[in-house]
């Protein structure tokens, strides 16, 4: 906490710069002629506004005053800091600066802390009595943390200042449009809606097995393209075993029932031929 910030310029000093005797008072402060300004406090009035703009508010100004004199923030000599702060505020008023309300609120707070510290503490209340500076110290510390965090943030390498995004030109042809992704669950949910809307499937009784029959129907029909006849036996793949043959047979029966294929047997015991009716 003892690191001093370089605020530039003048030496820290609590001393005063006294005006030559006989000179008119600088200002009337609280009814008293002001003939001297603390040395490190003196700023030409016309520069005051600029000076003030370098502070981010009363907390910043207080931190400056504390750092200026190399004071431990935990050990603020409140009377001294208050006096300096009040001097600034008075000075601002003297030169008719439009003073942000925050500065006046802080002045009031400092004055309150100071007056409370001057009052004798009732012994009974001593335990509960929190040092009136504690809240101010907490706020000052909190503010200082973020003030430093802001400086650290400013020092981080940043795009466009310390590093640059690499980019290379690309001659791209026509943009392709990717088809959307679909989850099977979406398809099934859509189907559920169909089933709920019109329960037409109740009499169709599509069951787990008949789905493989439906699939086989589509496969058989796809094979029977064109106007040609296929031998009945060719539609069976005996590598599928008995169950596969049953599925194909059921598919053929269903296709016949739906009028999608016709079976032709020229004579009894002659080979059966199959043809797609719409083929």
């Amino acid at each position: 906490m003892d690191a001093r910030e370089d605020q530039g310029g003048t030496e820290p000093s609590a001393g005063a710069c006294t005006l030559p005797p006989g000179a008119p008072p600088l200002a009337m402060v609280r009814g008293q002629p002001w003939t001297a300004l603390p040395k490190d406090l003196y700023i030409p009035p016309e520069a005051l506004e600029v000076f003030l703009e370098t502070f981010e508010g009363p907390l910043d100004l207080l931190l400056y005053l504390i750092r200026r004199q190399n004071l431990d923030i935990l050990d603020i000599p409140i009377a001294e800091i208050t006096a300096q702060y009040m001097d600034y505020v008075e000075l601002m008023r003297e030169v008719d600066l439009e003073l942000a309300a925050e500065y006046l609120v802080m002045a009031a707070l400092l004055a309150e802390i100071k007056s409370r510290m001057l009052l004798p503490q009732p012994e009974a209340a001593e335990d509960e009595e929190v040092d009136p500076r504690a809240e101010l110290v907490r706020r000052l510390q909190e503010y200082e943390r973020f003030k430093q965090a802001a400086e650290a943030l400013d020092a981080l390498p940043r795009m466009g200042r310390d590093c640059f995004q690499g980019r290379a030109a690309l001659d791209r042809g026509e943009l392709r449009r990717a088809p959307p992704d679909v989850d099977l669950h979406e398809v099934l949910l859509a189907f559920k809606a169909v089933l709920q809307r019109a329960d037409l499937f109740t009499h169709h009784r599509v069951e787990r097995e008949s789905l493989s029959v439906r699939e086989r129907m589509a496969q058989v029909l796809a094979r029977l393209q064109g106007d040609r006849f296929s031998a009945f036996g060719e539609l069976f793949d005996f590598r599928e075993g008995r169950q596969g043959a049953v599925v194909t047979f059921l598919a053929l029966l269903e296709l016949v029932k739906e009028g999608l294929v016709e079976l032709v047997q020229p004579t009894g015991f002659a080979p059966i031929h199959v043809r797609a009716k719409g083929g």
Partner: protein, 192 residues
């Protein structure tokens, strides 16, 4: 890395600029006292171009000067960065797809009858273009309407070995809106 070489500075500048830079502009990156000659810059650029032979970018000279650009060989992959995702499929399309899957072979008229509303040609066209659905024949009735069925690609896309891996109707009826993932058994068969 210290201090950077001329080649490294030139590469950094060309990639930071993202637009072509002239030789003079590149020389202008250096204060006059340290400015490399045009010959030195050209030499460094030649070396950079040589390095790029094994990279995803190449150094080319265009009207505006020199630029580093993505090699045409990798462009087919890279341009996928800008591929637009099409908007999601409509409910009508998904319903149509489901009906074809469960009722194939089926005509458009039959789909319309089940859905209770018309099926736009656009939906059927999209499904055929996606190669999820194809025409496998025609029903032998007036107008000879096309019969639609699902394809091998349809099964592959949804990770199904066959249509019988689709849940039976009863399960579809009980489907929860929030059910995560698929209500299907793992491909290896029922685990219970």
């Amino acid at each position: 890395m210290s201090p950077p070489t001329l080649k490294q500075i030139l590469e950094g500048a060309l990639l930071a600029a993202g637009t072509p830079l002239t030789l003079e502009r590149l020389r202008g990156l250096f204060p006059e006292a340290e400015r490399p000659s045009p010959g030195e810059v050209r030499e460094a650029l030649a070396s950079l171009a040589e390095d790029c032979r094994h990279r995803g970018i190449e150094l080319t000279e265009v009207a505006g000067g020199l630029r580093l650009q993505v090699r045409s060989e990798v462009a087919p992959w890279v341009s996928r960065l800008w591929e637009e995702k099409a908007p999601r499929y409509s409910r009508a399309l998904l319903e149509t797809l489901a009906i074809i899957a469960y009722r194939q072979p089926v005509t458009r008229g039959e789909i319309e009858e089940i859905r209770g509303v018309g099926v736009s040609s656009q939906i059927v066209k999209t499904l055929v273009e996606r190669e999820w659905v194809r025409v496998i024949g025609h029903r032998d009735v007036p107008g000879r309407p096309a019969l639609y069925a699902t394809t091998r690609q349809f099964l592959d896309y949804f990770g199904l070995k066959g249509l019988d891996e689709l849940p039976p109707l009863q399960e579809v009826r009980e489907l929860g809106e929030m059910a995560p993932g698929l209500p299907l058994e793992p491909p290896g068969g029922p685990s219970s």
